[in-house]
């Protein structure tokens, strides 16, 4: 059966939006660039939701969910999903593939990929060029917790984080401004966000029959 018949998704209509994570409520951002992007949207009074929907995008032959994708932002007034890709090139390719898959399965859905260069240009436009190095790439990422399961989350973030050398961080960590006492705070919130994403993906999979 055509998976699109099973998983048709209208933006803002389903997939259990989490009211506690709406605009201005301080959601758990996985990346500093996402927090900055949210501030920009707030500034221009554009309503946003952070990772409110998880879309199943790949199943095995038995119908078990193999992969899902949670775009970073949903702008309900504009009916637009936005995905920030400020990580390494390898992760950008992975996200490009996920977005292509998302567009195949949910052709009515509008999603905008915001690449590192787009983010950089935005910062430049607002005179925040000095922030670029702090907010983009690996330096802007949240550290994973050592007892986390090793599986990549819906964004593949753990892959990138692993390359930093685990919770003690790599050589670049000292430049990030996330060292020291700030880290545990981000870790806790990041784990919670990932758990919610996994629960939502599992719930979505439970309602999605096999696609062959």
């Amino acid at each position: 059966m055509d998976p699109r018949e099973q998983t048709e998704h209208r933006p803002g209509a389903t997939a259990e939006p989490d009211a506690s994570r709406g605009a201005r409520s301080g959601p758990a951002f996985a990346h500093a660039s996402e927090a900055e992007f949210a501030r920009i949207l707030e500034f221009y009074q554009v309503a946003w939701e952070y990772e409110p929907h998880v879309f199943p995008i790949l199943w095995d032959l038995d119908g078990n969910l193999l992969e899902s994708f949670a775009p970073d932002f949903f702008l309900p007034e504009l009916e637009l999903f936005v995905e920030l890709t400020t990580l390494q090139q390898r992760l950008v390719r992975k996200k490009n593939r996920k977005v292509r898959r998302l567009r195949e399965l949910y052709p009515d859905l509008r999603i905008k990929l915001f690449y590192a260069r787009d983010f950089r240009a935005l910062m430049l436009k607002y005179g925040r060029s000095a922030l670029v190095s702090e907010l983009s790439g690996t330096l802007g990422q949240v550290m994973p917790h050592p007892d986390e399961d090793g599986s990549p989350d819906s964004e593949g973030r753990l892959e990138g984080l692993d390359r930093l050398g685990g919770p003690s961080g790599g050589a670049d960590r000292g430049k990030s401004g996330l060292d020291g006492e700030q880290q545990p705070h981000y870790e806790r919130r990041s784990r919670g966000a990932r758990r919610r994403a996994v629960r939502r993906a599992a719930a979505a999979a439970a309602h999605t029959p096999a696609t062959t």
Binding site: F43, Y44, L80, K112, Y126, G127, S129, L131
Partner: protein
């Protein structure tokens, strides 16, 4: 930020020459004159970037019209402090209810400012609101707003001149050019 004494030397490439801009402005002025004949036109310039464009465009429109100026605050938040909300720094000086408003912009990229302005101006009950932008950078668009009059669609590069600035500099260049990376990376 390092600015050369000779502003032109900070420009890597002239994207739109003075002559190209003048020709396009004349063309836009003619189209607007045709489209708004017999109507109550108000041109609203969004400061500061659109000032040269506004000055040239209004003189290429052959209809009786009013002009007005608006300025809105620009985002400047940091990762550690709240930047608040966009504010109207300079509001219209005359009512626009019942009038046909043409917003004059220098460049539309994300569309965030324009989206805010249109929502704000709609609350003042104009007969219509349309948008005229000299430059359109669609690659950066977040908010899809129909642009009724566009001078040039430009590539994804940081441009300055003819009103467009970087750190409030370069607005007085008579052309639109691509800024050298060294000028904003230093």
């Amino acid at each position: 930020m390092r600015v050369s004494e000779d502003l032109v030397s900070d420009v890597a490439e002239v994207l739109l020459s003075e002559e190209q801009i003048a020709a396009k402005v004349a063309e836009l002025g003619k189209r607007i004159s045709d489209d708004y004949a017999g109507r109550e036109l108000t041109l609203v310039s969004v400061l500061k970037g659109s000032l040269p464009f506004m000055a040239d465009l209004m003189r290429r429109i052959t209809l009786p019209l009013r002009i007005d100026l608006m300025e809105v605050s620009s985002y400047g938040g940091t990762s550690t402090e709240s930047s608040g909300l966009v504010r109207i720094l300079k509001d219209l000086s005359a009512p626009i209810d019942g009038r046909d408003v043409l917003l004059v912009e220098d460049i539309i990229d994300t569309g965030l400012t324009l989206n805010y302005l249109i929502r704000y101006l709609k609350g003042k009950n104009p007969n219509s609101i349309k948008v005229c932008s000299l430059l359109d950078k669609p690659a950066r668009r977040l908010v899809e707003i129909p642009l009724d009059y566009v001078g040039f669609e430009i590539p994804d590069a940081f441009v300055v001149g003819y009103g467009l600035d970087f750190g409030e500099v370069y607005r007085n260049l008579r052309f639109v050019g691509v800024l050298r990376p060294e000028a904003y990376e230093s």
